[in-house]
């Protein structure tokens, strides 16, 4: 057994948080947090580079006995689906630290600790191959996120934090029962790989699918479980929004791929029409809500609902274009929306307003900033050449392959995206400088801010122009997943 690289990438941030316990100086706390997140990112790079994209098997596996009486093991491993999200989480980790450099002024050390603990939990979720371990990371995320929103958030932060906490907790406790039921149905094991190999009776699949689905649908969030999201996003500090949009939402869809689709193939087939309807409603409804917002952050928050609708749509069309598109869209949405929240955070630091009416003429006042803002908006609109185009195009191709109606409706959503993003862009960046928002006093980005934005912009274009290496990473895992799904689907069809 070689270096336990997954454990290192997971627990390095936690180590940083523990070291921060003994630090008193706010400046030192920032630098230490930055150092740990950057090193964590550097550890994540070889994982991606050394990843063997010819197999769907789990790689970098670590397997140790943990709680023998419950047959629980410390089991970590990644396949083509999780590897991207480990990379994304570690990338956004240091972006978050940079984004909070100046905007967090009180309790800096505690904030950085919460961020680092959060990062450990997030990466842990993507690595865990034992349900107990998975649930541990999954729930442990609630504590730091609750504090990040509630302590460092905006005016209405306490309401948003409690809503976030209770909503997510209520969803995931049912999943816990589902996990325990799986343990007994699957021969007394929490080993996810072992549990995937088995077939469960349909009635069992039905209920356990639901218990998992509710937890993940809340996290995504899918319509009609989305109401916590705008509150949480708007009130969270910039780094909190980046984490929420960048990684937390992906956990919902990751759970759907990893568990709902692979463990309960038949139930997944059964629920597909419902999920597709929910996705399409989410795409269009989220778009319309975004159209009506006067607060920039809220607008992007609602656009997330729409974009995540595309992801769930792609997942449940059962062809490789749809599923691969969905996974790419997850990655892209993480980068693009993370970047948009970063941009909003940066301008908010300067103007202290997020009202669209207070903006105008940013392009004249802060040209470098506006350039990047433009890039990310175009990416969010899925303009060809940017990353989101790949994902959205594949999803739409997949959706049309499965159902023309679903595809046609999602096109409306994609068009709505262009409408609300462009009209927002017009109000914010173009026109005369609006003195109400004190935009004329704003200074342009500094090196620290530029570093974060450049890093994200690189990925916007890299994936946009040359998506092949990324798709190759996920391809074997996705085709393996689809093979299993379609054989189960044929079985269902055959029985009927």
């Amino acid at each position: 057994m070689g270096i336990p690289i997954l454990s290192i990438v997971t627990f390095l941030p936690l180590l940083g948080a523990l070291i921060l316990l003994f630090v008193r100086n706010a400046v030192a706390a920032r630098w230490i947090a930055l150092a740990f997140t950057v090193v964590d990112f550097l550890v994540a790079i070889p994982i991606v580079l050394k990843f063997d994209s010819t197999t769907h098997n789990m790689q970098f596996v670590e397997h140790y006995i943990w709680i023998p009486s419950w047959n629980i093991t410390y089991f970590m491993g990644i396949d083509g689906i999780s590897v991207l999200f480990i990379f994304l989480s570690s990338l956004l980790g240091w972006v978050c630290v940079l984004a909070s450099w100046r905007s967090i002024q009180h309790k800096v050390k505690e904030f950085m600790m919460a961020l680092l603990v959060m990062q450990t939990a997030m990466i842990g979720v993507f690595c865990a191959l034992d349900f107990f371990l998975f649930y541990l990371f999954w729930e442990a995320m609630l504590i730091p996120m609750y504090l990040i929103i509630g302590v460092w958030g905006g005016k209405n932060r306490i309401y948003a934090a409690i809503k976030f906490f209770l909503y997510t907790l209520a969803g995931s406790v049912l999943m816990l029962i589902g996990i325990i039921a799986l343990y007994f149905a699957g021969g007394h094991t929490f080993d996810i790989i072992e549990l995937m190999k088995q077939n469960y009776p349909f009635a069992f699949q039905f209920w356990v699918f639901l218990s998992f689905f509710i937890a993940f649908a809340i996290k995504v969030p899918m319509f009609p479980f989305h109401t916590w999201l705008p509150d949480a996003h708007v009130e969270a500090p910039t780094a909190g929004s980046i984490i929420l949009a960048g990684v937390l939402l992906k956990m919902g869809t990751y759970g759907l791929i990893r568990f709902n689709l692979t463990l309960f193939e038949e139930a997944a087939r059964y629920f597909t029409p419902l999920i597709l309807v929910m996705s399409v409603i989410g795409i269009i409804y989220g778009g319309y809500l975004a159209l009506a917002q006067s607060d920039i952050k809220k607008l992007i928050a609602y656009s997330s609902i729409s974009h995540m609708g595309f992801v769930t749509l792609g997942l449940f069309v059962y062809n490789s274009a749809g599923v691969e598109g969905a996974i790419m869209q997850m990655l892209n949405h993480g980068i693009t929306t993370g970047a948009l929240f970063l941009c909003i955070g940066l301008i908010y630091e300067r103007t202290h307003t997020r009202e669209l009416a207070d903006y105008g003429g940013l392009a004249k006042a802060v040209p470098i900033y506006t350039t990047f803002f433009t890039i990310f908006i175009l990416s969010s609109m899925a303009i060809p050449g940017t990353n989101s185009f790949i994902g959205e195009f594949l999803i739409l191709a997949g959706a049309f392959g499965y159902s023309k109606v679903a595809g046609a409706f999602s096109i409306i959503g994609a068009m709505l995206g262009a409408v609300y993003l462009l009209s927002m862009y017009k109000k914010v960046a173009l026109g005369e400088i609006n003195h109400k928002g004190h935009i004329h006093e704003a200074h342009d980005v500094n090196v620290r801010e530029l570093a974060a934005m450049v890093a994200l912009a690189i990925f916007v274009f890299w994936i946009g122009v040359n998506a092949a290496p990324f798709v190759e990473l996920i391809h074997p895992s996705v085709s393996h997943l689809l093979e299993q799904l379609n054989s189960a689907g044929n079985m269902v069809a055959h029985v009927r």
């Binding site: 009486s69 505690e110 302590v151 932060r157 306490i158 209520a170 406790v173 029962i177 039921a181 007994f184």
Partner: protein
């Protein structure tokens, strides 16, 4: 009846505690006023010696005193839970009683008497010995509840507790006498034999079961026998609230498991539904009423009612997993409740009581460590990983699902999500609001040690529960 020396050997831990308590009573007489903390330290030593003795004997199993008293892994496990609870309670009491201005050696003596009562309950294998232990424990705690004589609330609490408590003891005795009437024995394993083949729906049996549920339900504050708990928890000196929120509850569960699963196991059909109903009501009432409390001691009272509900579900699940899940839960619950009470006790200084939840507003601003500890204990009580509270609940749910009682498990998780609200509300007050007054915590090395033990305990159980889990599983009595 032949008297065997093994009777003495295997009841040595109880003898040590009782003899220690009696000696301390005399020692108290020669100690001048103002020096009474010495009693506390000797009492600590007594508990530690009893613990060491239990540990030394722990390889043995002995059924002694005419099969009324069992020295086995099960009782040892519970005894250690009691030792931990008592040790932490004494450590937390030393400074607190000084602040309250009650300088009496009897306080620690009574705690030791209560401890011996609990130990007898855990070891009792006869309805009579269990009852004797229960009364010894209860009488001591009645007095302790009213120990702050000058406080009206404390007196009122003691009065309520003793009247309702005696009444419930009467009900319990009545149930036991009915059982004796049906079977002709009070010995638990003989009871199991006699009840084999008995009709589950026999009226007298059901009546007896209802009386037993009511009697023990009172001790663990299960709904609808919980009315006393909030008043008594609020009125009692906080160190005693801490002690009685864990010790008697664990002791009562030790007896409940033995009586219901061992003795009444053959007629499980007669009590399972009743107990399940009580458990659900207990969780619901505890979680929902805690939402509207503004006094933190009352809130913890309702929270401990809810926790009793989860543990009762473990009893309903039954089987080895049911038993060991309740055992583990009691250990974890003891640690986290003592931890939270340790912090509540620290708030009391001078004339400041620190019992309103708004007294905690902004604590994180000035006392970062205290707030962080409180946060960990609260999240543990709410059952959020990676804390011990999660492992405890997880095992109970496992036991339930393993028995196919999934609806009960679903109800339990829903209420555990509801109860999270009032725990995180305190976190919210501590972390997200600005302080309204200056904090001045009564920190002493003793209370620091107590909280550290509780903290290390719940974190270790939360992350590496294996050792404790196996301990509980090995110690569970065979069914």
């Amino acid at each position: 009846m032949n008297f065997d020396i093994s009777n003495i050997i295997f009841s040595m831990p109880e003898i040590i505690v009782l003899a220690g308590a009696c000696l301390l009573l005399m020692f108290d007489l020669i100690l001048p006023k103002g020096q009474k903390q010495a009693i506390a330290y000797v009492a600590l030593a007594v508990v530690i010696i009893a613990g060491a003795e239990t540990w030394l004997l722990s390889d043995n199993i002995a059924h002694i005193f005419n099969r009324m008293f069992m020295f086995d892994g099960y009782s040892i496990f519970f005894k250690f839970v009691f030792y931990i609870g008592t040790l932490l309670a004494i450590l937390l009491s030393i400074n607190y009683m000084k602040i309250e201005g009650e300088d009496y050696g009897e306080y620690y003596v009574l705690i030791l008497f209560a401890l011996s009562g609990m130990m007898i309950m855990a070891s009792g294998t006869d309805l009579l010995s269990i009852y004797v232990g229960l009364e010894l424990m209860a009488l001591s705690i009645y007095i302790l509840t009213g120990f702050t004589q000058r406080s009206g609330k404390s007196n009122e609490a003691a009065m309520k507790y003793i009247i309702l408590g005696s009444f419930s003891s009467g009900v319990l005795l009545y149930g036991m006498s009915l059982i004796y009437g049906i079977t002709g024995t009070t010995q638990l394993s003989d009871l199991a034999l006699a009840l084999k083949g008995q009709d589950n729906m026999d009226m007298s049996l059901i009546l007896a079961v209802i009386f037993l549920v009511a009697g023990f339900g009172f001790k663990v504050a299960a709904v609808p026998f919980h009315m006393w708990a909030p008043d008594v928890y609020e009125g009692a000196p906080t160190s005693i609230t801490a002690f009685m929120s864990v010790g008697p509850k664990a002791a009562a569960f030790a007896a409940i498991l033995r009586i219901f699963i061992e003795a009444l196991g053959p007629v499980a059909g007669s009590w399972e539904t009743i107990l399940a109903l009580v458990a659900v009501l207990t969780m619901a009432t505890g979680s929902i009423f805690a939402l509207i409390q503004t006094n933190i001691k009352r809130m913890i009272a309702y929270s401990s009612i809810a926790h009793a509900g989860y543990a009762l579900l473990g009893v309903v699940a039954g089987g080895r997993d049911g038993i060991s899940s309740v055992m583990l839960y009691m250990l974890i619950y003891t640690l986290m409740n003592m931890g939270i009470f340790g912090l509540i006790i620290m708030m009391r200084k001078g004339d400041f009581r620190g019992e309103n939840i708004h007294d905690y507003t902004g604590l994180a601003k000035t006392n970062k460590l205290a707030a962080l500890l409180m946060l960990i204990f609260l999240f543990s009580l709410a059952g959020i990983p990676p804390t011990g509270g999660f492992v405890g609940k997880f095992y109970i749910f496992m036991a339930l699902v393993g028995q196919g009682l999934i609806p009960l498990a679903v109800i339990a998780v829903i209420f555990s999500a509801v109860s999270a609200f009032f725990y995180i509300r305190i976190v919210m007050l501590m972390y997200m609001k600005e302080p309204t007054h200056k904090f001045d915590l009564a920190t002493t090395p003793a209370s620091g040690i107590a909280i550290a033990i509780a903290l290390i305990g719940i974190l270790i159980i939360g992350v590496l529960p294996s050792w404790f889990l196996e301990m509980a599983q090995r110690a569970a009595f065979p069914v």
